[in-house]
Amino acid sequence: MDLVTVNGLTKRYGGIVALSDATFSARAGEVHALLGENGAGKSTFIQILSGAVRHDGGSILIDGQDYRPANPDAAQARGIAAVFQELSLIPDLSVEQNIWFRHEPRTLLRTVNRGEMRRKTLALLEKYSFPTLRPDRELRRLTLAERQIVEIAKGLAKDPRIIILDEATSALPAREAEWLLKLTRQLAAEGRLVIFISHRMAEVRAIADRLTIFRNGATVAAHEANAVSDNEIVAQMIGRHLDRLYPERIPTATDRVALKVQGISSGSRLSGVEFALREGEVLGVGGLQGHGQRELFQALFGATRATGAVELWGKPVSIANPRQALTGRDGIALVPEDRRGQGLLLTKSVRENLTLSVIKRFTENGLLSRQKEAELVKEMVDFLRIKAGTPEQLAGTLSGGNQQKVIFGKMLLTQARILLLYDPTRGVDVGTKGEIFQLMRDLAAKGYAILFHSSDMPELVHVADRVMVMRNGRIAATLEGDHISEEEILRAAMLETRAA
C-alpha cells in the first residue's frame, strides 16, 4: 500500500492558482523525485505536505488516513519533516541547540539535559556518517554548506517517516553532496520515504526510484525512474504552450554593438562573463535560477560591485552606481526583479514615480515646471496604456501589470537605449504580458538594445533573437536561430551539471 496518496490537490493565493490538480503517490522505502520548472507548483506542494500552508481542495491520505495539518508541528506529529532551502536555523544557538530546538531532552526539573542532548547529537551524527561537525559550535560561525548539513540533521532528529529534501544539495560542495546522496539511499533502506527535489538531472538519475513531474500547478506524469529518458522528462516538464501571446519576431539587429561586456565577475556568483549586445537586438538570458543572472544584471546597472570591462556604444565606461548608469541617451536602464522593493514608490503617485529619474529635466532656474512634467507624464501614460484613474493615483493601488508599466515608463523617460529587463513579466497578467513583448520588439525596431531575463523559458524562446544560458556564473551556451528551444536551454542549463 502507498504511504502517501494525494488526489486533486488545489491551492489558490488570491486570484493566482498555485496548484490546480496535483496527484501524487509514493511508497515507504523509496526515493521519490519531484521535477518541474520554477513555478510549476513543487514548492506549494511540499509546503502543504509539511504543514506550512493549508490546501483549499483535494485530499491527502497518509496510511489511508486523512491528513490536513494545521501547522508544521502537526505535520511533524504525523512523522513528516522537511528540509528547506531557506534555512530555518538560529544563528546565536549552537549546532546541537539548533538540532533539538523545541524538542530538547529535559531533566526532571524540566531544564535542558545538556549531557543527554550531547549524547543524542553524537549518536545521530555517527549513525548517518555526518561530515565532521562540532556540536557546541555557534551556528553563525558555520559556512553555508555546514548550515545546510545542520538543517538536515535537524530534520532527521525528529525520526520522520517521510523526509522532504528541497534542493538540499544546491548549497553543498561535491563531497558533501555525494554524502547526501548516500544518506538518501540509507534513509530509504530504513523504510522511510524520501521526497527529493533537485534541478540536477544527474542526481535525480543516481538516486530516484520513481519521479513525479509537475507543470503549471498540476501533475503531468509519474514514472519509474528507469523507464523514462532524460528527453522525455524534459519534454514533459515543458509541455506544449500556446504561442499566440508572442509578437512576430522580425530581426532588427544591426552590426553596431551597443553593449560589450568582457570578463565581468562579481563574488562567487558571476565569473568571467563575456558577450556583445547589438543595436536592435533582444538578447535573452536563461538558465536555472541562481546561476548568476541577477548578479549580471545588477553589475551592469552598477547596483552590485563587479570587475571587468564594459563598453556602451563603443565607449569604455565604469559604472559605480545606478545614477551613472542612467545618464541620458548613452545610458543603460534596468527594470528590476523586485517590483515593489526596487522599482516603485508604492505610497507615491504614478506621476512622481514616472518622473523620479528625470525630475531635473523639468526644472527652470531650479524650480519645477509642473506643466512640462504633466505633459510628459500624460504622453507616457498614453503610450504605455497605463490604466490609472488619474496620474495622481498611488502606484501601490495599481494592478501588477500596470505597476510594471510605470517602471518601464520611468526607465524609458531616461532615454537610455540599452534596457536590462529582469523577469519583466513575473506576476503580470497575460494581456499585459503580450503588450510588454510587443513593446520590446517595437523598441528593438527603433534601435534599442535589450537584455532580457525571464524565469519562464517559453518567453525566451519566443521573444529573444539569441539566448545565452547561464550556469554557475558563466555563459554555458549561446543559442541562435533554430537552436533556440526549451529543450536546448534546459539541456545547457542542467544536463551537464555535476554535484559540484
Partner: protein, 320 residues
C-alpha cells in the same frame, strides 16, 4: 482642492488642531488672544520652527538628527565669546558659525550615508562630543551678553511685526520651494519612502542624505545665535529643550517619523501647537511637574493620531 486636502490631510489636521487649541486656551485665559500675547507666542514658536526646519528635511529623508541641542548651544556660546557684546565681529562670526553648523551636519551626513552608521548613534555621538568641547572651551563660566544686532533680530520689531517672525516666514518660503518646487524635494521624498527604489531610480541618495543633515546643522546653529539674542546671554543647556520640540513639531505637523512624507508647512503648525500648549498649561494652574506630564501626554496623543492614520493607509496599500 479636495485632492489637495486628501493628500495633505495630516497637515490640515495640524492646523485645525492649532486653531482648536487656541480657542481652548482663550477660554481658560481670556487674555491669551491679545495682540501682544500672540506676538510673543509666535516669537517663541519661531525658535522651535527654525530648529525644526532642518529636522523636517532629515526626518522626511528617513533619518533623525539628535545633535541639534549642542549644535545650537555651541553656536550660541561661541558667538557670545567671539563677539564680546559687539556688533562688528558678526561680519565674520556669522558666516563662521553657519559654516560650522553645516560642517557638523556634513560629518553627520557622511557618517550616515557613506559609512552606514545608524542616524541615532551618529548624531547622538556628535551631540555628546560637542557638549564636551564646549565644556572644555568655557570651563563652565558665563559668557558676555549678546550683540545688540542679534537682540534686534530676536526681539525687535519692524512695522509692528517681530523681526524673527519675518525671518521665519522667509525660511518657510525657502523650505516650501525646496520641498515642493525643486528636484531636491522629489529626491528627498523618494529617499525617505524607499532608499532602495530611490537608488535604483538614479536618485543621488548619498548626496541628498548629506544635504539634509547639513541643513539641520545650519538651522540649529542659526537658531542658537538668535536664541542668544532672545535670552540676552548664552548659557550651557540652552539647546536641550529643542531636541524634543524639534522632533515633536515635525511629527505633529503630519510627517511620518519613518520618512517619506510630511512638509515644512505642517512643521510650522506643529511648532505653533507646542508653543500654545506651553501657554495653556500654566493657565490650568498645575504644578510644574504635572505640567510636564500633561505636556508629554498631549504630544504623545497628537503624534499617535497622525501615525495611526499613517498605519491605516499602509495597511490598505498592503491589502491591495
Amino acid at each position: 482642492m479636495s485632492a489637495f486636502l486628501a493628500r495633505n490631510r495630516l497637515i490640515v489636521l495640524a492646523y485645525a488642531g492649532m486653531v482648536v487649541l487656541l480657542l481652548v486656551t482663550a477660554l481658560f485665559s481670556p487674555g491669551f488672544l491679545s495682540v501682544s500675547n500672540m506676538r510673543s507666542t509666535v516669537v517663541l514658536a519661531a525658535f522651535v520652527g527654525i530648529v525644526a526646519l532642518g529636522q523636517t528635511f532629515v526626518i522626511i529623508g528617513g533619518g533623525i538628527d539628535l545633535s541639534v541641542p549642542w549644535v545650537l548651544n555651541s553656536a550660541a556660546i561661541i558667538m557670545a565669546l567671539l563677539c564680546g557684546g559687539q556688533d562688528v565681529p558678526l561680519v565674520w562670526v556669522t558666516p563662521l558659525l553657519l559654516a560650522g553648523g553645516a560642517f557638523i551636519g556634513l560629518i553627520n551626513g557622511v557618517g550616515v550615508a557613506r559609512f552606514g552608521v545608524p542616524p541615532i548613534i551618529m548624531t547622538l555621538a556628535t551631540n555628546v562630543i560637542l557638549q564636551g568641547l564646549i565644556l572644555v572651551l568655557t570651563g563652565g563660566s558665563p559668557t558676555p551678553s549678546a550683540p545688540a544686532l542679534i537682540q534686534f533680530l530676536s526681539v525687535g520689531r519692524i512695522g509692528g511685526f517681530p523681526v524673527i517672525a519675518l525671518i521665519w516666514l522667509a525660511l518657510t518660503l525657502v523650505a516650501t520651494l525646496l520641498l515642493s518646487k525643486a528636484a531636491f524635494g522629489r529626491h528627498l521624498y523618494a529617499l525617505g519612502t524607499s532608499a532602495t527604489v530611490a537608488e535604483f531610480s538614479g536618485v543621488p541618495t548619498a548626496r541628498t542624505t548629506i544635504l539634509t543633515y547639513v541643513a539641520s546643522g545650519l538651522t540649529a546653529a542659526f537658531a542658537g545665535m538668535l536664541l542668544t539674542g532672545y535670552s540676552g546671554q548664552a548659557y550651557l543647556g540652552m539647546g536641550d529643550a529643542y531636541l524634543f520640540t524639534s522632533i515633536a513639531a515635525v511629527a505633529i505637523g503630519g510627517a511620518s517619523i519613518l520618512g517619506g512624507s510630511g512638509h515644512y508647512l505642517g512643521t510650522v503648525a506643529g511648532a505653533m501647537v507646542l508653543t500654545i500648549l506651553t501657554g495653556l498649561l500654566p493657565a490650568l494652574n498645575l504644578s510644574s511637574g504635572a505640567l510636564l506630564i500633561v505636556y508629554g501626554a498631549v504630544i504623545l496623543l497628537t503624534v499617535s493620531i497622525g501615525s495611526e492614520a499613517f498605519a491605516g493607509l499602509g495597511g490598505r496599500l498592503r491589502r491591495n
